[in-house]
């Protein structure tokens, strides 16, 4: 019985975490981005373990606060701890299908899974799906994004950078 309750509470925490959006991209949650590594519920003590996408990301503290506040909203939550860990490292293949959809909705191409031998990579335009795109700036407005340009629909767009352990 206790185990069952714990289990359902755990699910409730995961569910509420889906409402915690990326501070800059409100169409994807931290769950969609694959940032949630672990949820632990022990009596009234709840611990959420997150993986930062990039180490210097200035949004991390906002995410921490928003996560804490969201979980505190649950009736059984008394004490909430949010911890960032680095191992396992976050990699871009942790972004879920739902996350990719959310990114595209926002005009951001999902991180590509395949890297060329020279380290370059390709994504399609999130607006018109054209493959006729050029890299404008590998460093976008935030650490995790790059700026590209679609030559078909003549629109600049962003892509989430691929990040993997082979790098």
């Amino acid at each position: 019985m206790v185990a069952l309750i714990k289990n359902s509470q755990n699910l409730e925490v995961w569910k509420v975490l889906e409402s915690v959006k990326d501070p800059e991209i409100d169409t994807v949650s931290i769950v969609d981005l694959g940032m949630v590594e672990k949820v632990e519920v022990e009596a009234e003590q709840i611990k959420v373990t997150l993986l930062p996408t990039f180490l210097g990301c200035p949004a991390l503290e906002i995410i921490r606060t928003n996560t804490k506040n969201a979980v505190m909203g649950l009736s059984f939550a008394k004490n909430v701890e949010v911890e960032f860990i680095f191992s396992p490292p976050w990699t871009s293949d942790r972004v879920t299908e739902n996350g990719k959809k959310g990114l595209k909705e926002f005009g951001i191409a999902a991180p590509p899974r395949h890297l060329e031998e020279d380290g370059s990579w390709h994504v399609d335009c999130p607006y018109c799906n054209s493959t006729y795109v050029t890299m404008e700036n590998i460093f976008g407005p935030t650490a995790c994004r790059s700026i590209l340009y679609c030559k078909s629909c003549k629109t600049p767009f962003e892509a989430m950078k691929p990040v993997s352990t082979i790098m």
């Binding site: 180490l55 700036n137 460093f139 790098m167």
Partner: protein, 269 residues
């Protein structure tokens, strides 16, 4: 974390701390110098790119300071901002100014110098991080894996600038050549572990100085061959930053950033 700590001898702990301070102070000063370029880079795209690199590097420094905090050496932010120059273990190369003039005044920063320093430095960092992935100190090993992924983009970026400027106009090439000379002259301590060399290497915290330096040279080789340049010869250090020997440029930088930090901390009250 505390388990790891308990298992270490005093000697090993000292070696770990020293290496962590070297890595932390290197990235901290490197990103501080990078941050001075904010709004001054050659064009807006570059401004975005270098501030992104600066931000990543500051994040890396913060991680190392956090490990030092975990080892009981004090608050991470204080370690970054308040330690005087004689206690700093960064290489002299990372503390050098970007050029003449004060940031708030009329800076005449040297972009060629920044490109060369950044390329040589990030490539050296790459060699260290590759080795740290196998470090006997687990917390460092874990961070190295994460840093590595971000560093990948930094190296790519600076290598591109380096190649482009050296294959453009004669003027650019001349500026780059003198920048290379300036940077190399300060590289004597970049691959040094200072007084703790012996224990740092013996405890397998990281590969030997010689091995890291060779890995660095091998990484530069293809680029240098393509540009028909001779590989740099690293001089003996005149000052060894790893042992707390620094230029006045470091003290000036610390004065500036600790002043801002103190004001910041005060307003938080």
């Amino acid at each position: 974390m505390s388990n790891v700590e308990k298992m270490m001898s005093t000697e090993e702990k000292k070696a770990v701390e020293t290496l962590l301070f070297q890595l932390a102070d290197d990235d901290f000063l490197f990103s501080y110098r990078g941050s001075e370029w904010l709004g001054l880079a050659p064009h807006i795209e570059e401004d975005v790119a270098s501030s992104s690199i600066t931000q990543d590097s500051m994040g890396h420094a913060a991680m190392y300071y956090k490990l030092l905090e975990d080892l009981g050496l004090g608050n991470a932010d204080d370690l970054a901002h308040l330690r005087p120059a004689v206690e700093r273990k960064n290489s002299v190369l990372t503390e050098r100014i970007n050029g003449d003039g004060y940031y708030m005044d009329t800076p005449q920063y040297d972009w060629a110098y920044t490109v060369v320093r950044s390329y040589f430095y990030t490539q050296a960092k790459r060699a260290k991080i590759n080795s740290l992935k196998e470090s006997s100190y687990k917390p460092l090993q874990e961070i190295a894996v994460k840093v590595s992924m971000e560093l990948y983009y930094h190296v790519m970026h600076w290598k591109l600038w380096f190649k482009q400027l050296l294959s453009s106009t004669e003027e650019a090439k001349t500026k780059m050549m003198s920048a290379i000379e300036l940077v190399v002259a300060d590289m004597g301590d970049l691959f040094s572990y200072g007084e703790q060399k012996e224990p740092i290497e013996r405890f397998d915290l990281i590969d030997s100085e010689e091995k890291i330096q060779n890995a660095w040279l091998e990484a530069l080789r293809p680029t240098f061959e393509k540009l028909e340049l001779d590989l740099p010869i690293i001089p003996e250090p005149k000052l060894n930053g790893r042992n707390g020997q620094h230029t006045d440029e470091l003290q000036a930088a610390i004065d500036t950033l600790s002043e801002v930090y103190r004001i910041d901390t005060a307003t938080n009250w």
